[in-house]
Subunit: 389 residues, 2 copies
Amino acid sequence: MKPIPDSLRASIGLRVDLIDTPALVVDLDAMERNIQRMADFARKHQVRWRPHAKLHKSAELALLMQQAGATGACVQKVSEAEALAAAGVNDLYISNQVIAGAKLLRVARLAHQLGLRGGRLALAVDSEEGIERLAEAMAVTASDAGIDVFVEIDVGQRRCGVPPGEPAVALALAVSRHARLRFAGLHAYHGRAQHLRGAQARREAIATVVQAARHTRDLIAAAGLPVPLVTGAGTGTLVHEAASGVYGELQAGSFLFMDADYASNEREPAQPVFEHALFVKTQVISSQETHAVCDAGHKSHAIDSGLPIVAMLPPERALRYANGGDEHGILYADGNKARLPSLGRMLWLIPGHCDPTVNLYDFLIGVRGGLAHGVVERIIRVDARGALT
Amino acid sequence: MKPIPDSLRASIGLRVDLIDTPALVVDLDAMERNIQRMADFARKHQVRWRPHAKLHKSAELALLMQQAGATGACVQKVSEAEALAAAGVNDLYISNQVIAGAKLLRVARLAHQLGLRGGRLALAVDSEEGIERLAEAMAVTASDAGIDVFVEIDVGQRRCGVPPGEPAVALALAVSRHARLRFAGLHAYHGRAQHLRGAQARREAIATVVQAARHTRDLIAAAGLPVPLVTGAGTGTLVHEAASGVYGELQAGSFLFMDADYASNEREPAQPVFEHALFVKTQVISSQETHAVCDAGHKSHAIDSGLPIVAMLPPERALRYANGGDEHGILYADGNKARLPSLGRMLWLIPGHCDPTVNLYDFLIGVRGGLAHGVVERIIRVDARGALT
């Protein structure tokens, strides 16, 4: 595990105003409320939740959610799984395709290691070749370890996954023919639907998704193969998958931190209220006639889902954040120069998209007691930062 | 210095096809040609070059360019300067504003350390308050170390910097009143002009910049203060600053790797030919009817200046890269399904913007002999990855 730098460790116990900028700060109280609401929601709907660790990439946070009732964690990469397993997470699902032979050997090794300590590993597949290669890699390992295999169907994302229906049946049967591969069910995730702004649009999109997943599940069962689980769903649509009677597990991850993009969705009444819990702290370093400049550019937050929003802590006034390049943000107080923040002022940004923002940082700074007067409680490792392979 | 992981070290001496994906790969031959052309250009125009390390964040590459004639390196952040100094770079210019008291103490400490070993540190200022705070921090250090201070003028970037003319004269005189601050000259960089596509548009923009810099320089000299240097320029416009007779130093950094964005500029005839030298290696992990999916999404390359371009290595055919989210890229062979790459195929992407792309990786993989048949020669540390403060 990477050591926490002295400068960060020294900030524990200090007030938030002393955190050096830019920094990625977690409001621990807000995050814990989000976890509690998700746990309550899953219990109420009798579904499992396996939150996606591609968001936080942190074993500490994965384990915190397991303590609250989560079933392990999802990841997207073999190296993410390795990093989280090394830091104590036992039940991992690589919800993605793996094709390279050398990577599949790592998958097999990890399945073996997790099995030895009472855990398990799962992987998604969407091709006969992927299944054959995985089976070959599993055969190379000395152990009897098995691996859970989900067949991914494309339910609207237009990315990985075979079409629902017969192509998925063929893959499920192919999985079941290999001794060390356990057919675990269907992976059916519609990423684009998460970001449809209107509640009705998301509801309609997921109705189609559920229909495709149910149809495919029934076809596989009719072919004589039980389908233990249908897994999927994100923060934008989870209420629909949870109520479907088809999905047994939710993969939503973003609810933990809630980025500006998800907050732009029209809220579904049944959706739990999730609060912003992740912020980039920044400081004004230049004050000009028409604008101010802060020290957080797009090396300190991802901009793929839009620019960050300036959080308004009373008596803070509305400011617009504009792109200032790699290391700068430009702040405008539209139509009111007098409201521009002064040189040295600290501000808090809500990232447009939390997942790739977290991936820019090796550590998160956990604050207790709010952003205005809170205190640094602990430093959270981003164990799988930069884990791309 | 961070240790090189065994898996990366083991790749030294292997052929490029064995590099695990996604990976950030430097074509060392192309990079060295870029360095040689830049060195020749600077010599011919009798200007210094202090390439911006915000691109590569690597002491090894900064020192390589110093050996070829560069005058130290620019950085944007105190922590970048600290990381490069710790790894052996002696002459550093933080071409940015620093306002926080704790950071300025680090600046003073670094100026002291570099001074002791025969190096030097410089900083940009754009406010009286910034100058006063810097002078206070310098006074706290026990040593007699001084620091070079550049006054930043806004020549069109509309970010940091005071307006050219009298405001800059006032700041230059303010700097000169402090014993440990050495007025080093003017910082005049027009970032937006770098990306104007037409050669004539860039030429006209820089003509205005040069006029403003010359006028300000002459005003300060008329006030009795010599102006040792005017520094600025980027890869898109450096031919104009070099020929101006006003600029004594070029800060261009991107020429080293040349991203897709800079390559979209209409080339100025006098501009040296810089080649793409930085690539994301990726693999096809899913093959569908209409598209293929690769394992490099926007956690493996920055998209602020547009999506990456698929490099065509003969007999590779034209593919279009589309955004597939955090961990996936979608590949289309517009109008020709037959040309879609097969499952497992390795591809090379040219990043839209190299600076924030490098910042996603802890190490670069240096390849000798080209991307088709080359061999991994060495692993290059990105010493200042994630150095934001």
